[in-house]
Amino acid sequence: MPIERIAVGLTVNGCAVEQWIDPCAMLLDVLHELGLSGTKKGCEMGACGACTALADGRRIVSCLALAASYAGAAITTIEGVGTPDELHPLQEAFIDHDALQCGYCTPGQIMSALGLIAEGCCDRATIREGLSGNLCRCGAYPRIVAAVAEAAGL
């Protein structure tokens, strides 16, 4: 018995794609099917933030985002932020401040921080509060906050 699939149109990093997906599929898994592995799976229940992406500029945990419900939305993932040869200033700040160790939570931290900066953050305490949904087990937190503060012009 074949698995029923439905067609969904998404805009990912500015590119319109039509993908046949499982109706139950989460956006995170669809991104992986599209070959975009920069968005990470850490817990599959919205508790770690590793899968953070932007939908129409707002932060979402893509592991809990039903892909079909994002038809037509503009999705931004870490692949749409900068490239190794052309880094976004926030990515550059992450490297300068050594705001990463194993790097697995890093895309989520960066996407979350981009969303936070767009929401507006006025000081380091706001950054710490606003990024607390993004876990890091290596313990890069203070340096992540330093990098985000620099990129936010604080």
Binding site: M1, P2, I3, D22, C24, D29, H32, G35, L36, S37, G38, T39, K40, K41, G42, C43, E44, M45, A47, C48, A50, T77, I78, E79, V81, G82, T83, P84, L87, Q91, F94, I95, D96, D98, L100, Q101, C102, G103, Y104, C105, T106, P107, I110, I127, R128, E129, S132, G133, N134, L135, C136, R137, C138, G139, A140, Y141, P142, R143, I144, V145
Partner: protein, 709 residues
């Protein structure tokens, strides 16, 4: 003497999401796997019925004990060969299907019949079965010098208490994953592992294959902290078995819930500790008895009491480790194994003694400084602990420490505490290959892996320094068994192991170039073009350390300021100042990151982390990252890290390990600060609000508002 504050060379790949972790390989035709997990606590599997599972759309295969019977018996294959359930949630089979959803659906439809046996779900249910293991980690389980019983009887002061630490889980952000496929008789295995070579050896042994027919790849590792090793191997081997039979690539990724039970844990400890002092504050005796949990299928014991054997000068010391087997998951090392729970007890006891003796806690430790290792009666290769105390105390402002429970900042009661940390400096065998390319750039290869600690960067720095080329000219390749054999990532020993091998390789490369006639003022790029146009390479090899006549350890001193909310008893660490002496510091930027990360792990162990087990079923309660609390951004204090450079002429390159130090000592430093703030001594971890609730000031009950208002 310190090295350059070089940025992480793989940083650009990681911040752009382009670093390829093991689970991100997507071979064509790949199947997804899911585990069937036992629903009982203890017993035998007597039947597996997968007929319903086979009707799941997308189902391809199911493997279980019968399919692993041909694997060579070993600790890595026992749980997948023998149909015995040792703990709830233990995998009893694996399903493979076209999609992850189909694999999980099929797994849920597999019916398993059991014959249950009585179980032990907590160590206090089988105390009479406690036994003393021969080994605790790499050391002998029991020790005895002098006559501590007599010395305690005659001591001026004895502090005798029980200290307890909880079960913790490692939870690297990257879940355990394997993607594997067969190419004829050869197998390619991409897996998140702290040991590509160790994994290759296990696969080759289990499947009776030549090691060269097994390739294990892990170019980027999303954290490990001790859990990406042996306990993962059984489930990985089942995946390989299914891949061979189906002829398809298969991917198995553990769920976060499975990472509470299937990949190891920091064992809980119950520690009975007695420390005796003379009137001048000198230690006269220590007795340290540790009781801990291990599983019914494996034995592991942290080196918890080791700190009591050698951290301080003391003539009479007895230590003992005992284990109780329970039907709970198997413990394994977790960041700062042994030293984290061990220093919590010893350094808490010293703080209690300092208070009762009326001696400053730093001064008490200085008086008991061990000028050599009293346990083995050998000198230290280097020990800068006294300097660590002084530097950290100065930077913290310890001299202004007020009397206990007197400082208030708004609603916060403020306290200061300090403690010592230490960790042994080890090395493992290691080979490094250095290749000078025709264009003058350098490629360095080593079959170790970068857990996030900076292995790529420091290896590049070692080679760039030795060859006198810019760091940008050096490319490093790690995490592949096609590369020369490197050490496992654990025990804070990779950097120290690579250093002598890298140095030997660069020396050999230079010697070859000299033999070929490289000029003294010639650059490597010019020389290679002229005398070795195809490029040239050399290998270096180093052996494990066998330090018999000397003891090698890293040391540190950690000072903390905590605030305890006077109304709510919320505990916050406000600032941490620490000084660490780890031999030669190759990259201060990355070293500071490791120390801060280690301290944060320790803050989690002290105030947040506790894996809770149901006492009747042995099941984990709250097996998710919402219930298992770990430190988040909002928990962060200010950190001030001092790196004490040491000129250790005994160790090759003078390099000691870094990663573990911050995760020990901090527990007692925080507990001691809480005592200083509140007057309450908490002798168990984690320390939570409820432990300080009785400290809240009595409030006058207000009148309830009238319901009619």
């Amino acid at each position: 003497m310190s090295g350059e504050r070089a940025r992480r060379i793989e940083g650009a790949l990681k911040v752009t999401g382009r670093a390829e972790y093991a689970g991100e390989v997507r071979p064509d035709g790949m199947l997804h796997a899911a585990l069937v997990q036992a629903e009982i606590t203890c017993g035998d599997v007597v039947g597996i019925d997968d007929s319903a599972a086979r009707h799941t759309p997308g189902f391809v295969d199911q493997v279980s004990y019968d399919d692993a019977r041909s694997l060579a018996p070993s600790t890595a294959t026992a749980l997948i060969r023998e149909p015995v359930v040792h703990f709830p949630g233990q995998p009893v089979g694996l399903t493979a299907a076209d999609t992850l959803l189909a694999a999980r659906t099929a797994a849920a439809r597999v019916r398993v019949d059991y014959v249950e046996r009585p179980s032990v779900a907590a160590i206090d249910q089988a105390l009479d079965e406690a036994y003393a293991p021969a080994m605790a980690g790499r050391i002998i389980g029991a020790s005895h010098r002098g006559d501590p019983a007599v010395a305690l009887t005659g001591a001026h002061l004895v502090v005798r208490n029980r200290y307890q630490t909880a079960v913790n889980n490692h939870h690297p952000m990257e879940p355990h994953v394997v993607v594997c496929w067969w190419e004829g008789e050869q197998v390619v295995v991409h897996t998140s592992t702290q040991a590509v070579y160790g994994t290759r050896a296990i696969i080759a042994h289990a499947l009776a294959m030549p090691a060269d027919d097994v390739r294990v790849v892990c170019r980027y590792l999303g954290g490990g902290f001790g859990c990406k090793g042996q306990l993962w191997w059984p489930w990985m081997l089942w995946t390989l078995t299914a891949s061979k039979r189906t002829g398809r690539p298969i991917r198995l990724e553990l769920t976060r819930a499975q990472m509470f039970t299937l990949v190891g844990r920091r064992q809980e400890t119950v520690q009975d500790l007695a420390v005796g002092f003379d009137a001048t504050g000198r230690l006269v005796a220590i007795e340290h008895d540790v009781l801990a949990q291990t599983s019914t299928h494996g034995e592991y014991c942290d080196t918890t009491a080791e700190v009591s054997r050698r951290l301080y000068a003391c003539p009479n010391v007895r230590t003992l480790h005992r284990l109780v087997r329970t039907n709970e998951p198997q413990p394994i090392p977790m960041r700062a194994p042994g030293t984290a729970p061990g220093t919590f007890a010893l350094e808490s006891a010293l703080d209690e003694a300092a208070e009762q003796l009326g001696i400053d806690p730093v001064e008490l430790r200085v008086r008991n400084f061990a000028d050599h290792d009293h346990d083995a009666d050998v000198p230290w290769s280097s020990n800068s602990l006294l300097q660590c105390y002084q530097v950290a105390a100065d930077r913290f402002g310890w001299a202004q420490r007020p009397a206990s429970a007197t400082v208030v900042d708004g609603r916060w009661r403020i306290g200061w505490g300090m403690a010592t940390t230490c960790y042994p400096a080890h090395r493992q065998p290691c080979r490094v290959r250095v290749r000078l390319q025709p264009d003058g750039t350098i490629v360095v290869q080593c079959g170790t892996q970068d857990m996030g600690s900076g292995t790529y960067t420091v290896l590049a720095q070692m080679v760039a320094d030795a060859l006198g080329v810019p760091l940008s000219q050096v490319t490093v390749e790690l995490g592949d068994t096609l590369l020369p054999e490197g050490p496992f990532s654990g025990g804070s020993q990779v950097t120290a192991s690579m250093f002598p091998a890298a140095r030997q390789a660069t020396d050999a490369l230079r010697a070859q170039l000299a033999e070929l006639g490289m000029g003294h003022d010639e650059t490597l790029a010019d020389a290679v073009q002229r005398i070795a146009p195809d490029g040239i390479e050399a290998e270096g090899a180093a052996t494990a350390n066998a330090d018999i006549d000397v003891r090698c350890m890293s040391f540190g001193a950690i000072f903390t300021e905590v605030g305890v909310d006077a109304d709510l008893a919320e505990i916050r660490v406000r600032r941490v100042t620490a000084a660490f002496a780890t031999g030669r510091v190759l990259n201060p930027l990355l070293t500071e990151s490791q120390h801060i990360g280690g301290l944060i792990g320790g803050i989690g162990m002290t105030l947040l982390e506790q894996t809770v087990t149901d006492r009747s079923s042995g099941r984990i309660i709250g097996d998710n990252l919402a219930d298992y609390l770990v430190p988040v951004h909002a928990d962060m204090p200010e950190f001030d890290i001092a790196l004490i450079d040491e000129d250790d002429t005994y160790l090759p390159g003078g390099v000691k390990g870094v990663g573990m130090l911050g995760t020990a000592g901090i527990q007692a430093a925080i507990a001691n600060a809480i005592h200083h703030a509140t007057g309450t001594r908490v002798r168990h971890l984690p320390i939570r609000i409820e432990d300080l609730l009785h400290e809240l000031p009595a409030t006058t009950p207000g009148a309830l508002p009238s319901m009619s208002e």
